[in-house]
């Protein structure tokens, strides 16, 4: 959020420069100053945002201790060992399991998690996740990322200044454009380096967690539950009722959970299916490529590293990925032909744009791009027959792709917002008997319809049993773009194709208007 804000500032400030309101030293000074300020105020701004837009409550150490003495004691021990202050704790009232931190310095960090982590993770796993987040605090990650982001922004501004500054002489080829384009190239490279840095910080935090807990496998299983969503709840209704009633009282003592037996477990563990879920990250070319654009490493790779650490600690490896993959019957032809066709379709709008531009100028570029968008959309949200599936089955499909959806219908329950606790999020977290997945909802009325849905509808269907129909996608993360959500009382329709198709058509119409 902070990065987005400062990026907006960068664009505004460079525009101000462009109109002659400020000069280059002022601009650079302002960029650094604003990033500095945004880093200083990130804390308050984020606090404000979370308070306003999320169902969140903050607790000081003493308050949290009364809520969950054991976890409080655990955090306190790690913090003391690493000489950081006990962070302020934020708890999001949502069953979607999630945990994160923010702040500007270790001394004023916030550690936020949703109630869902207590539903889906056992105590060891919770500790591992919390240790991972404390790892971010201990490593000064907010500061590192803010500085890196500032540098990237300065490159962007250089590009903007150099290519636009001489525009009073608009008919000239501008010699500074060269520096501009080079800075732009560096800006793009730097953006990817920034992502690489972010992934490195994640590995680093994983390592911290493993070192602190001495149980790398706990984090592994937590990742499988949260990142892959491969979690199943104990069907023992009595224990669940008890759990829910205690949580309603604001108590989240893991002892309670322990008292009622294991609440949740990694689904498909016993049948050896989890290995196949991980296999996707090592086998699918999509996973390999999309990781470059991701802030987090592929979950499979994180688990592999944690396994290596477990071996170093003399513990048992949880998954032998290599053996799993070697034992799998992989149709490489299907894998790669699917990937090449998918990649072609995925980038069709860009191909169309470039081809059109080279052979017929801007108008043709827009037409081809519009056609590309339409074809891509029709391929992505195809009309294949709907299959009745479970999430575990979907997640073990190594041929899954972000370019071509697999049309499925799932039986399960809406457990929360797509983004835990966010009032304005129209997306949902869905759970079936084998796991959790993100449901992407798209209103036919666009963003306003989405907002309306988020505000007026979502809370009604949370905790309802539903049948979700849509397209399953998987790349560096997985989700379902829903087309229908059937509850007991109604059917909610979603229109993921509509706006893409309209966008494609708009481009074609626009090209007609230009040409």
């Amino acid at each position: 959020m902070g990065m987005l804000g400062t990026m907006v500032f960068a664009i505004l400030a460079t525009s101000a420069f462009f109109f002659g309101a400020i000069d280059i030293p002022t601009l650079l000074f302002m960029t650094i100053a604003v990033n500095l300020l945004s880093w200083i105020f990130a804390l308050f701004i984020n606090d404000l945002i979370y308070r306003l837009l999320y169902k969140i409550k903050f607790y000081k150490q003493e308050e949290f201790r009364s809520l969950n003495p054991e976890l409080s004691e655990y955090i306190s021990v790690i913090c003391q060992a690493n000489k950081v202050k006990f962070p302020k704790i934020g708890i999001i009232d949502d069953d979607n399991p999630t945990a994160f931190t923010y702040g500007s310095l270790p001394s004023n960090a916030r550690l936020v998690f949703s109630k869902g982590i207590f539903t889906y993770l056992n105590q060891d796993e919770v500790e591992a996740v919390i240790a991972h987040e404390v790892g971010h605090i201990v490593h000064y990650d907010f500061l590192v990322m803010t500085i890196a982001n500032t540098l990237v922004q300065i490159l962007y501004e250089l590009y903007f200044i150099c290519t636009k500054t001489k525009s009073k002489n608009s008919r000239d080829k501008n010699p500074l454009a060269f520096i501009g384009i080079v800075s732009y190239i560096f800006y793009i490279i730097a953006t990817y380096v920034l992502l690489l840095l972010s992934r490195k910080r994640e590995y680093y935090a994983d390592e911290f967690s493993a070192q602190t807990t001495q149980r790398p496998n706990s984090l592994s299983s937590a990742l499988i539950k949260i990142a892959y969503g491969m979690v199943t709840l104990n069907s023992d209704t009595k224990s669940r009722k008890l759990l829910e009633s205690t949580r309603a009282m604001g108590i989240m003592d893991p002892h309670v959970a322990k008292g009622i037996g294991v609440v949740s477990q990694v689904s498909g563990q016993d049948s050896g299916q989890i290995g196949k879920v991980l296999a996707y990250d090592f086998v699918s070319p999509w996973a390999t490529i999309l990781e470059f654009g991701s802030t987090h490493p592929l979950t499979g790779k994180r688990i592999q590293r944690l396994d290596e650490m477990a071996e170093n600690f003399g513990q048992e490896k949880s998954y032998d990925i290599r053996a799993t993959i070697n034992n799998m019957n992989i149709d490489k032809k299907k894998l790669y032909s699917g990937f090449y066709l998918g990649a072609f379709m995925y980038y069709l709008p860009i191909f169309g744009l470039l081809t059109g531009f080279f052979f017929g100028g801007i108008s043709a570029a827009l037409t081809f791009c519009g056609l590309g968008v339409i074809v891509k959309t029709l391929y992505k949200f195809n009309n294949d027959p709907v299959q009745n599936m479970t999430l575990l089955e979907l997640m073990t499909d190594i041929y899954a792709s972000p370019a071509k959806g697999r049309k499925v219908v799932l039986e399960g329950k809406i457990i929360g917002r797509g983004e835990a606790g966010a009032y304005l999020s129209e997306d949902l977290m869905f759970q079936d008997s084998t796991g959790l997945i993100y449901l992407d909802y798209t209103s036919k009325f666009g963003s306003l319809g989405n907002l309306f849905f988020a505000l007026k509808k979502v809370f009604k269907i949370i905790n309802q049993d539903v049948q979700a129909e849509g397209w399953f996608f998987r790349g560096n993360y997985q989700m379902i773009s829903v087309s229908k959500i059937k509850t007991v009382s109604e059917t909610i329709k979603s229109h993921p194709r509509l706006w893409s198709l309209l966008g494609g058509l708009a481009l074609i119409v626009l090209s007609g208007a230009i040409g």
Partner: protein, 446 residues
């Protein structure tokens, strides 16, 4: 190699291929721009030079050529600046200064097709003007004055607001000055051919032109105009102005007729012999046909007047044969240049020429001939014969026949054969008749 490794390698290769596309693209751009870097540096250096060129008023062709080499030496620079208004304007100005007007005009015309910039229009007009195509220049300058923006800061080629202000005033003022000058030129040429012109008007034109010191250089090479202007100067007896203009005009373009005006100056200064030399120099050489009928009116006129001056001198020195020959040539020239719209002048000149040079029965068409002796009443009045009597001297031969056969109709035969001196006298008497422009000029010189 197991399946795990095999797939890992293959994915690795795909990643390499995908990453190499943008990397190749980057390398391509960097290399392409790196090749252009020296040119960009050069372009930046040329920026000031262009402004300098555009602001420089006096420039010799040699300097212009040196600048051109600097501006067009590098093909990449040309490519980068191919649409730069200031660069192209500087080029056109240099072509013009170098004297390569057609190149300048052609380049400007093609530039104008792509970008109807006021600068291209201005430098096109300037090229036309320098070339001496004053009508084209006038047309383009008028467009410049009418379409130029109020303030050039609106035009996207300036970094400096003050420079834009200066240029918007300068370019419009220069265009207007030249429009005025082209009109004055036309007025002066017309005036010099106007027989009815008053001294006041002539003096007005001369004084207007004297005030111009900018942009007159192309006019100095325009002999039609210069002779017309000098003619006006002679008519208002402004010999100082003639002394000022003639050497400049000769420097710009030597024309035989300028010697006539040098001769006049000498004559006014009392150096008759030197004046005579100049007058002879103004003549096109031996023979009637060397008088070029294609000359501009004003130039043809000066040749005729120079001829009369020399012929008079021969006459005064008793060289009647030479004098007579020259008079014949002058009358030939006169038939070419008298105003063919003025029927009377034209017929008069033709009648005289037929009778005394061509030795043909003259025709006098519209002119009245009361005594029907073949000579018009006007000519009879000039020559002194009686316009009411066919045979003035009463020796039995009609007046026209006597002239035709070389006799004097004022004297009785047989003592009436015309000598060269007699012919000279006839020509001298008849000068206002066959060379109507002589009267005006002659009255004023003496």
């Amino acid at each position: 190699m197991d399946q795990f490794e095999e797939i890992n390698r293959k994915n690795g290769r795909i990643v390499k291929v995908i990453l190499s596309i943008p990397i190749f693209f980057c390398v391509f751009i960097v290399v392409a721009f790196a090749l252009y870097v020296p040119s960009f540096i050069k372009v930046a250096e040329l920026g000031n030079l262009q402004v300098e060129i555009l602001n420089q008023v006096d420039m010799t062709p040699v300097e212009a050529d040196a600048y051109l080499t600097k501006l067009t030496g590098d093909s990449k620079v040309r490519d980068i600046l191919s649409t730069n208004v200031r660069y192209n304007s500087a080029l056109v100005k240099l072509y013009t200064k170098k004297g390569d007007y057609d190149m300048a005009i052609e380049k400007c015309s093609s530039l104008l097709e792509e970008n109807d910039s006021v600068f291209y229009r201005y430098y096109l007009a300037e090229a036309y003007y320098e070339k001496g195509a004053f009508e084209d220049a006038d047309r383009e300058f008028i467009i410049v004055v009418n379409t130029a923006p109020e303030d050039f800061w609106e035009i996207d080629i300036y970094d400096d607001e003050a420079q834009a202000r200066v240029d918007s005033i300068k370019i419009k003022a220069n265009a207007q000055s030249r429009i005025d000058l082209v009109r004055l030129r036309k007025a002066i040429i017309d005036a010099s051919a106007d027989m009815e012109l008053t001294k006041e008007k002539s003096s007005g034109y001369v004084n207007s032109f004297k005030l111009k010191d900018e942009f007159i250089e192309p006019l100095l090479g325009d002999s039609e105009f210069i002779v017309a202007y000098l003619d006006l100067c002679v008519s208002v007896r402004d010999f100082e102005e003639i002394k000022r203009i003639v050497p400049q005009a000769i420097a710009a373009q030597n024309n035989l007729s300028y010697h006539y005006y040098l001769g006049i100056i000498k004559e006014v200064d009392g150096e008759h012999e030197k004046a005579l030399e100049e007058m002879k120099a103004a003549l096109p050489g031996e023979g009637i046909t060397n008088f070029d009928g294609e000359d501009f009116y004003s130039i043809a006129k000066t040749k005729a007047l120079a001829g009369i001056f020399v012929a008079e001198d021969y006459y005064a020195k008793g060289k009647y044969t030479e004098s007579f020959d020259l008079y014949k040539q002058v009358s030939y020239q006169s038939t070419n240049i008298v105003d063919s719209n003025n029927k009377d002048d034209f017929v008069c000149a033709g009648e005289f020429y037929s009778l005394f040079v061509w030795k043909k029965e003259p025709s006098h068409e519209s002119l009245t001939d009361l005594d029907q002796d073949g000579l018009s009443d006007d000519l009879e009045e000039v020559l002194g014969t009686d316009k009411n009597v066919k045979d003035t001297d009463g020796d039995g031969y009609e007046d026209e026949k006597e002239y035709f056969y070389g006799h004097d109709p004022l004297r009785k035969s047989p003592e009436d054969v015309l000598s060269d001196k007699d012919y000279c006298d006839i020509f001298r008497k008849a000068l206002p008749y066959f060379a109507p422009f002589y009267n005006k000029t002659n009255n004023q010189t003496n």
